[in-house]
């Protein structure tokens, strides 16, 4: 069955430090991959997505992610974290069927220290 794993439940980084959030997926074919961010009390905002082509994708707010087929990973990175990046981050995979169902990881809570 398809699944998405975010190994880190909670991460704390200092403001200005680099960030990497891990995401591993289990799916037979090439999936459509997404990262969403949920700020406290807010909805989900799309950060970036990967469908095909260049395996390094750029998103909003200075985020990027790299698709590595050999590792079944789609890790999210940011070179310098800002206090406003503190939020919940969700990795998701869309299985390529007609249903469009998104399967989410359990989320990673990012805390930013001043």
């Amino acid at each position: 069955a398809q699944s998405v794993t975010q190994p880190d439940i909670h991460i704390t980084v200092s403001e200005g430090a680099s960030l990497e959030l891990r995401c591993n997926y289990s799916y037979g074919a090439t999936p459509y991959l997404f990262w969403y961010v949920q700020s406290p009390g807010q909805g989900l905002q799309l950060l970036l997505k990967y469908f095909s082509g260049d395996t390094l994708v750029q998103g909003i707010k200075g985020f990027e992610a790299e698709f590595k087929r050999s590792q079944s990973s789609f890790n999210l990175r940011k070179p310098s974290v800002h206090w406003s990046d503190a939020a919940e981050y969700f990795c998701a995979v869309r299985i390529s069927s007609n249903t469009g169902k998104l399967i989410f990881g359990q989320g990673t809570t990012l805390q930013v220290k001043p």
């Binding site: 969403y36 807010q42 909805g43 989900l44 469009g100 169902k101 998104l102 989410f104």
Partner: protein, 114 residues
């Protein structure tokens, strides 16, 4: 110019009551979804409609009944509310063509059943 909107934003009610959550999208999208986010922030799809037709119905109790009066609206009615229904419910939408793999989420409805 809200893209996907939900009402109400907060809903506090007693066990056994019946309540509805409304969702509207002004993006011209063809498919709409309901997701449930539980207390551990895990997101899971509940339903999906394409042009008013049900296409995903996950193993959700039949106390939950989605209704799509037109392709811009997808409402969720919940009968005989239970404590375990307390969660955040997110509506989302996606187009059938173009950027069809990407789902755009509403701000969520925070339901608390007492």
């Amino acid at each position: 110019d809200t893209a996907v909107s939900q009402t109400p934003k907060y809903l506090v009610t007693q066990m056994g009551n019946d309540k509805s959550i409304k969702c509207e999208q002004n993006l011209g999208h063809d498919t709409m979804y309901w997701y449930k986010q539980d207390s551990k922030k895990f997101l899971k799809i509940m339903f999906s409609y394409n042009n008013k037709e049900l296409i995903i119905n996950e193993t959700v109790p039949n106390r939950f009944s989605p209704k799509s009066p037109d392709k811009a609206h997808l409402n969720l009615h919940i009968n005989s509310l239970e404590l375990g229904d307390s969660a955040v419910y997110f509506c989302a939408s996606s187009p059938d063509s173009g950027d069809s793999e990407t789902q755009y989420f509403g701000p969520g409805t925070r339901l608390l059943v007492l």
